[in-house]
């Protein structure tokens, strides 16, 4: 089976990652709740067209999905996906005064999670020497576009984390 030796990853690293996934999920949910309560943007499906126009990139997690689960590939994709979301969240700066604290917290936790994975890959000598090509960030030209972008990014991040959480739980199984 494509499964790499799950045991090559320290249990404490996997437990920390699981905790960090849940922390980022909680932050993401908080951002979605506030976007809905404060700006009435509650349904990402209403913003698909705008999302296409803005060109919000998605992060692939094929090596973490159950059919093609592959440990090291999954770690790489997890790290580049988190780096992408960190940059997307940064591009949303100025979303609105009410949401700024929630957005900052989410961005800090996503950054922390990306660093945890990067350092573990370095410790295993698996960190890619050449940084992966970076997707171009959308430019948001109005407060509304930042809020709509925030709703779409939070929704995409939620699905990304669900896949990551399932994979990490699988790797952490003793």
């Amino acid at each position: 089976t494509p499964l790499g030796p799950a045991s090559s990853l320290p249990q404490s690293f996997l437990l920390k990652c699981l905790e960090q996934v849940r922390k980022v999920q909680a932050d993401g949910a908080a951002l979605q709740e506030r976007l809905c309560a404060t700006h009435k943007l509650c349904h990402p499906e209403e913003l698909m067209l705008l999302g296409h126009a803005l060109g919000i990139p998605q992060a692939p997690l094929s090596s973490c999905s159950s059919q093609t689960l592959q440990l090291m590939g999954c770690l790489h994709q997890l790290h580049s996906g988190l780096s992408l979301y960190q940059r997307l969240l940064q591009a949303l700066a100025g979303i609105s005064p009410e949401l700024a604290p929630t957005l900052d917290m989410l961005q800090l936790d996503v950054t922390d999670f990306a660093i945890s994975i990067w350092q573990q890959m370095e410790d295993l000598g698996l960190a890619p020497a050449v940084p992966p090509t970076q997707a171009t960030m959308p430019t948001f030209t109005s407060a509304f576009q930042r809020r709509a972008g925030g709703t779409l990014v939070a929704s995409n991040l939620r699905s990304f984390l669900e896949v990551a959480h399932r994979a990490l739980r699988h790797f952490a199984k003793p």
Binding site: K40, E46, L50, T141
Partner: protein, 307 residues
Amino acid sequence: LEECGRISLPASTVRLGDSITASCTVSPNCSRLGSEAQILWKLETEPQPGERQRRLEDGSQESTITLPPLHHPRALLSCCLRWENTLQILDQAELVAGYPPAAPHNLSCLMNLTTNSLICQWEPGPDNHLPTNFTLKSFRSRGNCQTQEEPIPDCVPKDAESRCSIPRKHLQLYQNMGIWVQAENALGTGKSPELCLVPMDVVKLEPPTLWALAPSPEVAPPQPGCLLLRWELWKPSLYIDQKCELRHQPQLGEASWALVGPLLSQTLQYELCGLLPSTAYTLQMRCVRWPLPGQWSDWSPSLILTT
């Protein structure tokens, strides 16, 4: 990046009850529906009929709509597009409605000798539903505030308080100054009537302190039906000439206050007579700057003595 849809409004703030005409321009490649993209408007969650749509030279579609009179201070306007049987939001704008600020009223000021500042307060007037900035403006003047000499820096109240305190360094305590409050929001400005005052004439005195004079070798015990008293002015106001007033009433029963005054502001010993014997009396005192103009202090805390 191509602008997908953009709402434009004549003004983001209008008067409550006014109606507003908005337009939304949708660029061709965003809608990917070719020319016949159907633009729809929503106010909060209510679809708004009656929009007029036209094609511009550059191929984008422009929809214009005149909304019904606004009766809510805040409303969210959405420009949408029907796409694969979903309603896609392309842009949103928050409509803000309210009134120009009423003129603030009941402006009054007191000179506080503890903080050494002139503290003014006012009534802001009815809520106009808009973010409104209040500023206390003042200027020095020779005559009765008809001519304006040097302006005094604006006094900006702390978060939405209806009071502001002008620090000592901006004040000339014995000169006339004109003071008014200005309220400003997106729809206009309101100005309170102007006060013309001399800070020292509006000093707020703290009441004097009243003591009973205990009989002692130097102090003979009081006559029957009399009480021996002493009082001291509020320390920070010792430099101000004042006159005082004493009021007393039997502690029990319904008798109203009896007033004694004017009394000198400084006495070491005062005998109050003409009272009912062996009766408990409640005594209070207050003082005012005198003969120069001033404001009466509050009545002092009660002193209870028995004849």
